[in-house]
């Protein structure tokens, strides 16, 4: 299979799963009126379902003018930065609801991502070619640092929670599928981290065009891993549920 084909399939799976899971969580939030599903659903929907396709379209879609590209890139920045803040809120409210430091992290992330959105608009306005939308700029580098930090926090909290829930599982106090879902959420965070980190690191070391294929391959693999983890966590097929339940029976 050609790299371009694999990249297209992996990216499509990632976007479709982010869109579907985000929408499902938002519908769930409408019924339950609870904050965790609202923040998780909103975050996934805005980052993966809407923001990422706009970001890619701004730079890579054919027959798009520079003005339209600027509009798309700016919109993507608003959606994705707000989405990252929602994921940060989800991690705070679910894993550290009583911790004062977590409240501070949530507030700092919100204010910083808002400021970075404005900075991104300034950068986008100065771009002379559409392909530069995916190149690194000071605002994009800083945004990626915040996104990476949010994914690390989310992943670590999910792994800590998973370790605790495994002890409940050993006593039969919790369903195996719930414990597995927490582990898959940590996997989603790890894949998203990898996806952002590859681009961040490539930009940081100024990777040449001859290595861009490797960057795209790694990003695609991370996106595919994230899409599959979202599928297994939130739309698990019956065979997978049986396997998870059987592993602990």
């Amino acid at each position: 299979m050609k790299l371009e084909t694999f990249e297209a399939i992996a990216t499509a799976i990632f976007i479709v799963m982010g869109f579907a899971v985000g929408l499902r969580m938002l519908l769930l939030a409408r019924r339950t009126r609870e904050l965790p599903e609202l923040t998780l659903g909103g975050g996934l929907f805005l980052i993966v379902g809407l923001g990422y396709p706009l970001f890619l379209s701004a730079a890579l879609a054919p027959n798009v003018s520079l003005t339209t590209g600027r509009l798309l890139a700016g919109s993507a920045a608003v959606l994705m930065n707000f989405g990252w803040w929602l994921i940060c809120l989800f991690t705070w409210r679910v894993f550290r609801p009583d911790a004062a430091w977590a409240r501070v992290v949530g507030a700092v992330c919100g204010l910083s991502l808002a400021a970075l959105t404005v900075a991104r608009f300034v950068d986008v306005a100065q771009v002379s070619e559409r392909v530069q939308f995916i190149w690194s700029s000071p605002s994009m580098t800083a945004t990626r640092v915040f996104a990476l930090a949010i994914y690390v926090w989310t992943g670590v909290e999910a792994l800590l929670c998973h370790a605790r829930l495994k002890r409940q599982l050993a006593l039969g106090l919790i369903e195996a599928v719930v414990v597995n879902r927490v582990l898959l959420w940590a996997w989603v965070a790890a894949c998203c981290f990898t996806s952002v980190f590859v681009g961040f690191f490539a930009a940081l070391i100024g990777v040449g065009i001859q290595h861009m294929a490797l960057v795209r391959l790694l990003t695609s693999i991370a996106g595919l891993g994230c899409g599959l983890a979202l599928y297994l966590a939130f739309f698990p097929p019956r065979f997978y549920l049986r396997r998870v339940a059987g592993a602990t029976a």
């Binding site: 609870e34 679910v94 605790r164 829930l165 495994k166 409940q168 599982l169 006593l171």
Partner: protein, 101 residues
């Protein structure tokens, strides 16, 4: 601390004739070993802890008739309402996230 957890501590203290500090320490060890949170632990879950983990812990403390003590604690916990898990405890959230919309 949840109401069930407070009752759990009180029953360990009374039924095993331990000091309040010993009872609280024992409860804390057990809850940690079971992966529970003292703020959200329900009587249903603590009842399982009392059955499966408490006897061994009481033996370590040299309490005679640990099985009988655990049964008394369990009976006291059964008398109070099982209690719903806190809606926003991580396990409750992740259970809900897999539910129907």
């Amino acid at each position: 601390m949840s109401q069930a957890y407070q009752e759990f501590c009180r029953q360990i203290e009374t039924c095993a004739s331990l000091s309040d500090l010993q009872a609280m320490g024992t409860a804390r060890i057990l809850v940690k070993e079971a992966g529970l949170d003292s703020k959200t632990a329900t009587s249903a879950k603590l009842s399982v802890v009392a059955s499966k983990l408490l006897p061994r812990q009481l033996e370590l403390l040299g309490v005679a008739g640990s099985d009988g003590v655990a049964a008394k604690v369990n009976a006291a916990l059964a008398a109070i309402a099982p209690g719903a898990a806190a809606a926003n405890a991580p396990e409750a959230v992740f259970r809900r996230l897999g539910g129907t919309v």
